[in-house]
Amino acid sequence: MHQLYGTDDRNPLKAALVLPASLAVLDRVTPIYELPADASEGERRLALARWITRSDNPLTPRVLANRVWHYHFGTGIVDTPSDFGFLGGRPTHPELLDYLATRLLENGWHLKPLHREILLSRTYRQSAAYHIEAARTDKDARLLWRYPPRRLDAEQLRDTMLEVSGQLDRRMGGPGFRLYRFTQNNVSTYFPLDEPGPETYRRAVYHQNARASIVDVLNDFDLPDIAFAAPRRAQTTTPLQALTLLNHRFTLDMAAALAAQLTGSTTEKITAAYTRVLQRTPSVAECNAASDLIARYGLTAFCRALLNSNELMFLQ
């Protein structure tokens, strides 16, 4: 490879030769390396991997530990997971981040012990209860005075709807499923499925994504463009989400499936639905309003509303 600064690119021999080496700008983070120009591809990759994972390189375990934290709390200790440089965010708890990074090294880069330590912490297990005093200085709970409330991610939302309706297919492994069909002539054209059947009722992690496909429930709820690495997801609230969740066949099928599993008197059915979907029992007023709706339009209408509720969508 040659360095071209406005040089004629048809004549690279005029340009300086670039040697395989670490980024000079990081020389104060971790020692640099340089390989001879004729080093094989394997040697180059190995040198890079060793440089990234050297035990005296603090950046790699910090970045990794921060991502694990980010996935559990919705925001990292550094809120720009892919940028720890000058344009990135400052850590809210720098000593905690270094502690987690050290633990990662002590555990031989195994992630499970790190997950366990985070999940068993008091910080993770605290409630999302609101305190006006704390909110006055830290509205978004970046300092974690409460567990930050969050909306379910696209995949979590879909899996949750399948689970509370008793439809989630828990089989592990095997070929994935698709929420689209496609035609191929000169280019592939993708069409979202209007009637996803039970063969698609597996966890979203088994969905076989295609770069050019659009999948209503997942894409509407901020599944990132899969052509692009996305360290953080956008969190939007749009009328398209409302239309999809109200009118898509998936919601109607889940509502009908949930309704079909409720037994007993109307009050018992309402209580069972609240327990499954919202993990609590309904108040008397809620029960009366639900009874009204059910008497006029049936259980499925009531289930359709519950599956659209904010209380299901947000973890408070």
Partner: protein, 174 residues
């Protein structure tokens, strides 16, 4: 490499057009040319993406997404940015041509086509208008009570407002 086919001046403007396109050459005076729009790719997909996003790689916001992001909307009943597809299907690289890239998802193009209006816009045929209205009223009620217990959360109210906008969109079919 140089084109192996001849170019010849066409129309009153004398625009140079490939002799492979004799019929297009007749229309040349009614066409606008963007001479700055060039790319080094030689394939359809990246070329289309380049035309719409300035990058031949996927993952960057399209021109419409930038407009939606920068200018917002004058109309509270319709999406800010729609992509109208050719009746034969999507262009090469599909939704990357009207994607939001790294901008928030609300700025993505909403796809319409002659044979398919907005997805999920219409009330399902299995649900009557009165049932739909009653279901939404019940939803509005449980969401209001839930929001009242969390007065600090803007997100809960924003999501309720999005259901109201969705209802207005149903009354203003594009």
């Amino acid at each position: 490499m140089k084109s192996p086919w001849a170019f010849a001046p066409a129309g009153r403007s004398g625009k140079m057009i490939s002799t492979l396109l004799p019929h297009l050459a007749e229309q040349v005076d009614d066409m606008a040319f963007i001479h700055s729009m060039t790319s080094r790719t030689n394939t359809h997909g990246p070329g289309c993406t380049n035309m719409n996003t300035c990058f031949s790689r996927e993952g960057f916001p399209s021109a419409g997404a930038w407009l939606s992001y920068a200018l917002g909307s004058l109309n509270e009943n319709l999406p800010t940015y729609i992509a109208i597809q050719d009746i034969r299907g999507e262009p090469p690289n599909g939704k990357a041509n009207w994607g939001n890239g790294f901008l928030p998802a609300e700025h993505q193009g909403v796809t319409l086509a002659a044979q398919q209006s907005l997805r999920n816009l219409a009330r399902p045929s299995s649900i009557g208008a009165a049932e739909d209205k009653a279901t939404r009223a019940f939803l509005e009620r449980i969401n209001s009570e839930h929001a009242a217990m969390h007065p600090e959360s803007d997100e809960l109210r924003a999501r309720m407002a999005s259901y109201e906008l969705a209802a207005r969109m149903q009354l203003t079919p594009p």
